[in-house]
Symmetry: C2
Subunit: 342 residues, 2 copies
């Protein structure tokens, strides 16, 4: 086992003191990087994602170029429904399409809880390669979508502002919905355990659409299953829950025993801390659109953010993925300001 030299993020997640606030960016291996665009033009999404050498190269780009304190696996949350037997098309600039979404009980028979070694082994291979290439420079974050967010795509069949069809599916066919959520959960647990076994140091669960549910539904439809995942992983690794927009459940998310909670920019760090309590690390919460501001404005706003979070139990990040049109030096200003002023 290789010793991790820059373990700021691991320390922050364990609640240990760090000399400064660690920083990474959601979608840091992405379209704002010209080096990524070269590979994107040459290979399809699934080629990049399923070829361990390509996934490794892309994962390492922001570590080499931007100096972030963690690598995050290059992949997509929709590899899980794909492994479960549902066709997923990821057409760039069009968003995901699942041409045969789940609507009825019969559709459930088309999918199954897969053998993850068989269906997602390419992810584990990529992780092993990345860990080898990283050689202990920074930790590697693995990830999966939260079951509710995965259900959103499996039922709606495409992206949506409100995922009404997915919500209506849950409200009108609750038994079926819970069966599906449990299948996704079981698959996700096996998948994430595989990621940890392959070398992931931290696991982040992305509930991108958690904020579409009211507090009670979030508990019943989403957090209930996230909790199972966190419980299943907690002896093996450090976990972060990022349920975008689900500020109302920060207290309940903290109670799952997750080490970190991601927050978006629509809540002040102070209020998030009040809701989450002081036994969990907060991650966030810079408005991604603000990275288009002039660099001096970015620097000033990052300082304001750092001050609002205060010292300790904070991992600096954006409140959502970095936008494709952010100039590299603006992203770098974000990272450098955190490093310098925290």
């Amino acid at each position: 086992m290789i010793n991790i030299k820059n373990d700021l993020i691991l320390k922050a997640l364990r609640g240990e003191q760090t000399e400064r606030t660690p920083v990474w960016m959601m979608r840091q291996a992405g379209r704002y990087l010209p080096q990524y665009m070269v590979l994107r033009e040459k290979y399809s999404f699934f080629e990049r994602c399923q070829t361990p050498e390509l996934a490794c190269e892309i994962t390492l780009q922001p570590v080499d170029i931007m100096g972030v304190d963690a690598a995050i696996l290059f992949s997509d949350i929709l590899v899980v429904p794909q492994a479960m037997g549902l066709e997923v098309q990821l057409i760039e600039s069009k968003g995901p399409i699942l041409p045969d979404p789940i609507k009825t009980v019969n559709d459930l028979n088309r999918i199954s809880i897969p053998d993850v070694e068989e269906t997602l082994g390419y992810v584990f291979d990529a992780i092993k390669l990345i860990k080898n290439e990283l050689n202990g420079r920074v930790p590697l974050i693995g990830f999966a979508g939260a079951p509710w967010t995965i259900l959103c795509y499996m039922v709606q069949g495409k992206g949506s502002k409100t995922f009404d069809e997915a919500k209506i599916f849950c409200y009108t066919q609750p038994e079926l919905a819970h069966k599906l959520l449990q299948m996704i959960t079981d698959t996700t647990i096996a998948y994430l355990k595989g990621q940890v076994k392959a070398g992931a140091d931290v696991i982040q669960i992305f509930d991108s659409w958690g904020g579409l549910l009211g507090p009670d539904d979030f508990e019943n439809i989403s957090l209930k299953y996230i909790r199972q995942i966190v419980q299943a992983l907690k002896d093996d690794t450090l976990t972060i829950i990022f349920a975008k927009g689900a500020w109302h459940s920060l207290e309940n998310m903290a109670a799952t025993g997750a080490n970190g909670l991601g927050i978006d920019w629509c809540i002040t760090p102070q209020l998030a801390r009040r809701f989450a309590g002081d036994k969990v690390t907060l991650q966030g919460n810079f408005d991604p659109a603000k990275l288009l501001s002039p660099i001096p404005v970015i620097e000033a706003e990052v300082k304001t953010m750092l001050k609002a979070f205060g010292k300790g139990r904070h991992i600096a990040n954006l409140g959502h993925g970095i936008l494709p049109n952010v100039p590299v030096d603006h992203a770098r200003a974000f990272i450098e300001t955190v490093k310098e002023y925290s």
Copy 2:
């Protein structure tokens, strides 16, 4: 002046006791009503909106068919940018398109603060006709978009999940953005004063995209201008602010002096009350997708909602517009349960 027989909503907004909780539904004059669909197939959106007889007929449909406690003017928030000189295309099922959005200082010269009587007189004519036809049965709610939400469309040029271009416009060209916001505000104040003069009993300001901004930006970019509107109207009429997702600013919204605050389903009524204080009426907050649930579930959930709001200073409503695929008897179950159990 005609006396309003069912003045429950007016009383609730004034903080007076009501014998039961009043109820209406956002987008109640809409696609779930077969009677609306007949007119929708026959006339284009702007024909329906600009022909006072059609706007009147559509506005009255839910009063006649559903028994709601208020009528709301049939129109669209984008008539304001249209009146300011920007082309707006409302192609059904495709969402709004503004083919020449505002991007630079030169674009501002293409628009102006219009004479509202000249450009939006058809709305005032519709209101007069509606008031006449309503004959005091229920109050009439007029409305406009909040300046930030209008800017979103004027800059982005179309609908969006995140309105990044609009946000980036505000962050990178703040002077221009504030000039535009003030122009929209001035137009909106004149427009809403015209609506009140024509007979609107209540004004609701829709900030559909307020929730995309962090708390500080919401104050600077959105609430600052909403406040001007509320101040300008408060001697003439009752006002409701509905800033979807901007739960974090309920306290500041209450401090504007608005009579009512709309809330969506992603905050508990109890917490909303704690944030908003007890000097304002809360409106909401049923999850619109829940109207697809079986009727007994709707009834149970509405009762839970009523209980959570408690007696007084509550107007029952959805947390967003009614979905087009809601069966009429489900919508009716929502309304009837409020009437019966409050």
